[in-house]
């Protein structure tokens, strides 16, 4: 049996050892040996990566999945739910980039966090995050996935609030956890709905869920209230973890954490777990077309929201955070039209180019002594040549320049959106496709704006900072270069316009083909779609590719005209006007509609209802009993025991009196 358990256990060991070292050395001035901590923390995800490669080799040719490994019985659900791990092609894909990119980011963190007193604690948290994320994608059932799902939420909380002396960071961390918990409740209730829907063969294991919903019994449940509720609730879980409307406000705040955390958790891995869950349960989601339509629309709205917000930020990390929100929206647009493989492809390419951009931004911040404001950057090309060249590749990929990985995946999303069947008589797919193209234009603008402000505009860096600015050490620049290389070649795995180059699609086909076949069936049932699709497919693909390239260049051109001279204002000041309203509008609404009323309710329940009503009643009872016990006040001063006994007698009398009718009736 292939030791799948090693993959999560290895980083877990790293967490335990480094965590104990960090606790044990709390009293010392410098903390545990950095060399040891770093070596262990990087080695563990690396080994997990190697074990993953080994497992992938087993399913490279031949069976598409390893036998499920169940280790012990966990929960008494159905016939007993085991704690099991499942390794199929979807898991393999997720694990390869989670552990691969994860290892690179661990390496980068060694350079970035080296001087921090909490270095061991930081690396321990990162390892715990890896273990949780691995459990999330390796679990063979919804509860096991939920273990990782909440585990990554916890790590996100711990890492956002890593510098916990500052309450701004702690507030951001707490917000992330609480908002994620809202989504998590959706996850749980959705899982319960699924379980109920499955009737007597109910199980929460993915294989059983897939079997059931691929079968006739499952298909008969399509669009029933229970299935719609299940999908809607599970998607609520996805919106929490993957920062979609309405639960997205925590992600921009999460940038309070150290930059490697933003790259690993809040861009490349954790935030994509919503897409993973949707793909894992694709057989269920396709049975609720109403929810699928809603997913597309929510994804679309989120993409637009994020892109506009990204356009007006001054904090380099906030630009990237809103960009992540926007890109996640693209993924969910694809999910909503049943293009699960394409959504996952965008997850994959996004992981590379967004990690590149975040780590590059981290190097810039590092070089400028923790300056994050775009107004105080500019002209850094020569100062940070390696960072610059890496970030150019990331930028190239995200704005959709031809042959960059972002172009490949985004183009496929647009194509699938355009080809999507009508939903409820409306050409939702085509409408969304147009909006998505506009969003792609915005993406090109805000990302080029970032590049102009950081690199291609006159320097606004204060002289004393510039004097000390230096390229990041090798442990930091090497991972960024590797990732930027990845963000170019990741595009080679699926070239949509050329039918032969689609390794990625073939790889995922066993996992999602049934669900995607189901949506295709719906499509072919529609006579127009069936007639229109075959003959103009490749022409359509080239047309969309052309639009998408034009949009990328056009966006760059606009940015060039607007931003090449640098920002007009050079002194940092908070956002105002439209920018502020757009950025924090949701927060304000939630605060006004949910947080404040709830806090007021808590106050009323605690201070008014509970105090006045219950304590008042209680005192009344006490006094009546005391009266019956005679001399309550005097006795309370002298002897508690006598007082208690007498009060007790009084109480007996009261109750006996109350029960008298019953007793007399019986007698």
């Amino acid at each position: 049996m292939y030791p799948l358990w090693l993959i999560p256990v290895l980083p877990l060991v790293g967490f335990i050892v480094n965590g104990l070292l960090s606790l044990g050395s709390a009293g010392s001035k410098r903390g545990p040996s950095r060399g040891f901590v770093a070596a262990l923390a990087v080695a563990m995800p690396l080994l997990a990566f190697l074990v993953t490669i080994g497992a992938t080799a087993h399913i490279w040719n031949g069976p598409t999945t390893l036998p499920i490994q169940t280790y012990w019985e966990w929960l008494p659900i159905g016939k007993g739910l085991g704690f099991g791990l499942q390794f199929d092609r979807l898991t393999a894909l997720m694990l390869l980039f989670i552990t691969g990119i994860g290892t690179l980011i661990h390496l980068y963190s060694v350079g970035y966090m080296r001087e921090d007193r909490g270095f061991a604690r930081f690396m321990a948290y990162l390892n715990l995050f890896m273990a949780s994320m691995i459990i999330l994608v390796l679990g063979d059932s919804l509860p096991v996935t939920f273990l990782g799902w909440e585990g990554v939420g916890l790590c996100s909380y711990l890492l956002i609030g890593f510098w916990h002396q500052d309450h701004a960071n702690n507030d951001a961390a707490r917000k992330a956890f609480v908002i994620n918990r809202i989504g998590d409740l959706g996850f749980l209730l959705g899982a319960f709905c699924l379980y109920l829907a499955m009737g007597k063969d109910a199980s929460l294991r993915y294989v059983d869920i897939a079997d059931f919903f691929q079968g006739d019994a499952g298909k008969a449940l399509a669009s029933t209230p229970l299935i719609v509720a299940a999908c809607a609730l599970l998607f609520l879980g996805c919106t929490g973890k993957s920062a979609q409307l309405p639960l997205l406000t925590w992600l921009p705040d999460a940038m309070a954490g150290p930059t490697p955390v933003s790259a690993l958790i809040h861009a490349a891995t954790m935030v994509t777990s919503g897409v993973y869950l949707a793909a894992r349960l694709s057989d269920v989601f396709v049975l609720a077309p109403a929810v699928m339509t809603a997913i597309t629309l929510i994804g679309c709205a989120t993409a637009v929201y994020g892109a506009i917000a990204g356009l007006v930020q001054w904090d380099i990390k906030k630009v990237l955070a809103y960009s992540t929100v926007s890109q996640l929206g693209f993924m969910f647009m694809a999910v909503g039209v049943g293009a699960f493989d394409v959504a996952l492809y965008h997850v994959f390419t996004h992981a590379f180019f967004k990690a590149t951009l975040f780590l590059g931004a981290g190097s810039v911040i590092h070089a400028l002594h923790h300056e994050q404001d775009l107004r105080r950057m500019g002209g850094l090309t020569k100062v940070l040549p390696l960072t610059y060249s890496s970030m150019v590749f990331g930028w190239f990929a995200i704005i959709g320049m031809p042959l960059g990985s972002g172009f490949m995946s985004k183009d496929l999303i647009l194509e699938r959106l355009w080809a999507a069947p009508d939903m409820f008589g409306v050409q939702v797919g085509k409408l969304v496709c147009v909006v998505a193209l506009i969003t792609a234009l915005l993406t090109a603008i805000y990302m080029s704006r970032l590049m102009y402000y950081v690199f291609w505009s006159p320097s606004r860096v204060p002289a004393e900072v510039k004097a000390h600015a230096h390229e990041a050490p090798f442990v930091m620049s090497a991972p960024v270069l590797l990732l930027s290389f990845g963000s170019m070649v990741a595009g080679a795995m699926w070239f949509g316009a050329v039918p032969q180059i689609n390794a990625f699609e073939l790889w995922l086909r066993p996992v999602v083909e049934h669900a995607q076949g189901a949506t295709a069936l719906v499509a072919s049932a529609d006579p127009h779609a069936a007639a229109a699709e075959p003959h103009d497919h490749s022409a359509l693909a080239w047309a969309i590719a052309g639009c998408s390239i034009a949009v990328a260049f056009f966006g760059w051109l606009i940015a060039h005209l607007l931003f090449r001279r640098g920002p007009k204002e050079s002194e940092p000041r908070p956002l105002s006007g439209f920018a502020a309203a757009w950025t924090s509008g949701l927060d304000r609404i939630y605060d006004l509609v949910i947080a404040k009323p709830l806090a007021a309710l808590a106050w009323i329940v605690a201070r008014v209802i509970d105090q006045a009503l219950l304590t008042g009643v209680l005192r009344g009872i006490g006094e009546v009993s005391g009266f019956l016990g005679e001399g309550y006040v005097a006795l309370q001063r002298s002897r508690l025991r006598i007082s208690v006994t007498l009060s007790l007698l009084g109480a007996v009398v009261v109750v006996a009196y109350l029960l008298m009718p019953v007793l007399s009736k019986a007698a």
């Binding site: 709390a26 002396q165 500052d166 319960f192 007790l648």
Partner: protein, 508 residues
């Protein structure tokens, strides 16, 4: 024989502890600790042995004025066994945790704790209503003594209030038991359950008896609106006592609902299920909201207990198999996590002599071990997957979730969000933020305190990943005890066997 020994052991230990040193607190602690650990070891075979220990039953005394002969009747099944583990395990924890607060009066403290342990074990083992009542009410005496002698500044008032409130709650139980003895000539639980004799009473009588039983246990849990005693008592209790009060004694309330109310009154339980579910939901939400507004951290934990045990009551009164299993797991899980929280708050209180939510700040830097363990306990309490509380809450919510009553699970589920809100608020205020100058001298946890808390968290993790022993043994028993109520609630016809025993009884 074994069960009698297990029941007698804490009393014998209390007697032995009397001979301990009255001046040397350390020596008294050591003696009490050894005794408590020995009792805990004695109880372990209850869950590890494959065969249930032989039940003890012999006539004890005849109840004056009635024809009933009280049986000295002890038996153990999975539910009893696991709650006894909880009790016997929390006693050493409580003793260790109280060392600093109690000081040199440890002997008296230990005697009271051991007597209370014996009575709790008695209440769990007894299968006779009178014996149960004696233990169930008897527990209050050592508890009040602990509270009144070793508690905080408001200890007398809190002790009196606690005593009156819980006594008043269960005085109806006394009358009910006496009434049962008089009319049905027996107080044996097994006999009452098997023969369904209570069903022969008039409906008015049944309702009165049901109300008396339910009220006694609802006060003990407590269930809103009977929680008036709780926050004040928890706040004034010394650490060791509050560990036992919240961790173990409160579970006797939910235990009583499962052991007595569901099997003795299945029809009425089904009929009034919605009342208890609504009261449970009110406890869940109001408890969480009050915990959010609380400033005294011991009161905060008290309200969080109200919230978490409210969910258990909701689960019990949906009667579903999963929910009852979840209730069993959650009873043990909550006992562990709430004890850990109280021990840690006690440790901080004994250092700084305060425990308000605004009294500390930035402790993570100064006392990282305390911070780590506290955050761990808070996360367990918030039912993070991997902790026993998650196993319990997951099963409870899943068992409660039914298509026609989806709103119950939806409302109860809100507690998972609210718990995160108030616990993380507490964690942030106490442990994060800038270091405060007024807390410059605040030592981190010592070895004794780590040894007290770490096993609790380790157990929570263990049962989080492997709740099977509890859910199989305790959960199955709980589910069986609720089976009749479940059948009535679902409207299924009565199985033939039950009708036969009823006829047999009528013939006799």
């Amino acid at each position: 024989m074994y069960l009698t020994a297990l029941l007698a052991a804490p009393f014998a230990a209390a007697l032995l502890a009397c001979f301990g040193s009255g001046r040397d607190g350390a020596a008294a602690t050591r003696l009490a600790l050894v005794l408590a650990l020995a009792i805990a070891a004695l109880g372990v075979p209850l869950v590890t042995c494959l065969t249930a220990p032989g039940a003890v039953e012999h006539a004890w005394f005849s109840l004056a004025g009635t024809g009933a002969v009280v049986q000295f009747s002890l038996a153990s099944d999975g539910l009893t066994a696991w709650l006894i583990q909880l009790v016997t395990f929390l006693v050493p924890v409580g003793l260790l945790a109280s060392r600093d607060q109690v000081g040199e009066r440890m002997r008296e403290f230990a005697v009271a704790v051991l007597v209370m342990e014996g009575l709790m074990i008695g209440a769990l083992l007894s299968r006779d209503l009178v014996l149960f009542y004696l233990c169930f009410e008897g527990m209050l005496i050592p508890m009040v003594v602990l509270m009144a002698l070793f508690g905080g500044t408001d200890r007398r008032g809190a002790a009196l209030q606690f005593f009156l409130y819980t006594m008043l709650g269960s005085v109806g139980l006394l009358v009910a038991i006496w009434y049962i003895a008089q009319t049905l000539q027996t107080t044996s639980l097994t006999e009452l359950m098997d023969s369904r004799m209570l069903a022969t009473l008039s409906s008015g009588e049944q309702v009165a008896l049901f109300a008396a039983f339910a009220l006694a246990f609802a006060v003990k849990v407590p269930l809103a609106p009977f929680h008036g005693w709780q926050a004040r008592a928890y706040a004034e209790c010394p650490t060791g006592a509050v560990v036992l009060l919240s961790g173990a004694m409160a579970k006797l309330g939910t235990y009583g609902l499962i052991r007595f109310v569901l099997p003795l009154f299945p029809e009425l339980s089904a009929e009034y299920a919605n009342l208890f579910i609504i009261l449970g939901l009110v406890s869940v939400i109001a408890g969480a909201l009050m915990a959010w507004a609380a400033t005294d951290v011991k009161r905060l934990i008290a309200f969080s207990s109200l919230s978490h045990l409210g969910l258990v009551v909701v689960g019990i009164f949906t009667f579903s198999d999963l929910a009852l299993k979840g209730a069993a797991v959650q009873m043990v899980a909550h006992g562990i996590s709430v004890a850990a929280l109280f021990v840690l708050v006690g440790a901080l209180e004994s250092r700084a002599l305060k425990r308000g939510i605004d009294d500390f700040g930035g402790l993570a830097g100064r006392a990282p071990i305390l911070a780590t363990l506290f955050i761990g306990a808070a996360l367990a309490s918030a039912a993070l997957p991997g902790t026993a509380n998650f196993a319990g809450e997951f099963l409870l919510l899943m068992g409660v979730f039914q298509p026609r009553q989806w709103w119950i699970a939806a409302i109860a589920g809100l507690s998972t969000i609210l718990t995160a809100v108030y616990l993380l608020r507490l964690v942030q205020r106490w442990f994060y933020g800038p270091r405060r100058a007024d807390l410059a001298v605040l030592p981190d946890l010592g070895v004794r305190e780590v040894v007290t808390v770490a096993p609790l968290l380790a157990l929570s993790l263990f049962f989080g990943f492997y709740p099977k022993p509890i859910s199989d043994q305790a959960g199955t028993v709980a589910s069986r005890l609720g089976a009749e109520a479940r059948r009535v609630a679902s409207g299924a016809p009565a199985p033939v066997a039950v009708v036969e025993t009823k006829d047999a009884h009528a013939a006799r």
